[in-house]
Subunit: 193 residues, 2 copies
DNA sequence: CGCGACGTTGATTTGCCTCAACGATTGTGG
DNA sequence: CCACAATCGTTGAGGCAAATCAACGTCGCG
């Protein structure tokens, strides 16, 4: 079995022919820090598995402020899901930026939908992933409603220790929904505890 | 075809035997206003399709404040998705309350998972729904990051005109993540525009 | 080395919350 | 069917967490 499939699908046992079908659709890409995988306004067709490195999805609002929606490191998938999964015109509302040199594997949603039908086992896995992601998104929403910025930061550090290393403070701030200055003050407070 | 399947699945064409399989798993329930479908701490096994009426999912935080995560009217599904789809112990973190007399159809996740395997077409529909829900959740998250309480309220009224009728102001406030008093002031401002 | 990007700190502002009081509406028992 | 209580919505005063605006030190890279 091709190494990357083992990595992506862990101990899932596809048949040889299923593996071949999937492999045919995966397109390897290498990115360097600072490179953009997607810019707002582009049409969104693909999503991407992160093999190495780190990327983020962020939205720029009318006042020019950035809002980070997602970080992705090894083992995660990234895209502009609002466009890709929404019922709109599939134009990106967000940007995807490489923040640490990366090797990724892309697959188009069109190809993926075909694979889902050809390979029932893949459907099952996708459903599980979607369900889990949805639960996780709900949980994060709850946290943002009930917790203070300081508590959210602490949870972030615990939850994503591997990400904290690769990213700038202002990336984290924009992910937590606070300003750089506020994060700076929070870090100071925590350090003095 | 049984009326309720037509309602739930619109123009999807299941075979007779597929329909029978699904129908066998759906359990009809009637609820009256004020009744609880689920309380925090219960174990979560089912999700529910709303035929008539209105329900909401809400979380109560440590300080006793309520946070409404979801409203559901005709055509929507409701559950505690954090518990049902999460990897935890399946104990409800939220409550589900009937806020307008309702007729609903429940199905257990266990039964549903079985149906997904037995009926590939159902898998496809479920995937589409999950994808769309995920996109929608992301969009809402963006809105809560970028918009003021007033703008969020305006979007709420536009997006859920049918819900606004059935619910108390403080339900809406807790959905928008603001206090009753703030919502009251916002409504006053908008009225005077 | 020098410049720009990044992080920190201070002063001030602001949107929303909290607390409190008081009408309006709803619903319920007599 | 009315009276009264409970619930709900509104309004005001004051407070607070985080935003904004501004200045400055520092680090890393060309």
């Amino acid at each position: 079995m091709h190494q990357i499939l083992t990595e992506i699908f862990k101990d899932t046992s596809f048949t040889e022919s299923e593996e071949a079908l999937i492999l045919k659709k995966l397109k390897k890409k290498t990115l360097i820090k600072g490179e953009f995988l997607l810019k707002a306004g582009d049409s969104v067709r693909d999503f991407f598995y992160i093999h190495t490195g780190c990327l983020r999805t962020f939205f720029v609002d009318d006042s020019g402020k950035e809002h980070t929606l997602q970080f992705a490191v090894k083992g995660w998938w990234i895209s502009d899901y609002i466009a890709l999964f929404g019922r709109g015109d599939k134009l990106a509302v967000s940007n995807i930026e490489c923040i640490k040199d990366a090797i990724i594997y892309g697959v188009s949603k069109k190809d993926f939908d075909t694979l889902l039908i050809e390979i029932p086992l893949l459907s099952q896995i996708h459903i599980q992933n979607m369900e889990y992601s949805y639960a996780h998104a709900q949980k994060r929403k709850l946290e943002s409603l009930t917790l203070s910025a300081k508590e959210r930061y602490k949870i972030f550090v615990q939850t994503y220790p591997s990400i904290e290393q690769s990213v700038k403070n202002y990336h984290i701030a924009s992910f937590l929904g606070i300003t750089n200055e506020s994060l700076s003050r929070i870090r100071k407070e925590i350090a003095s505890e």
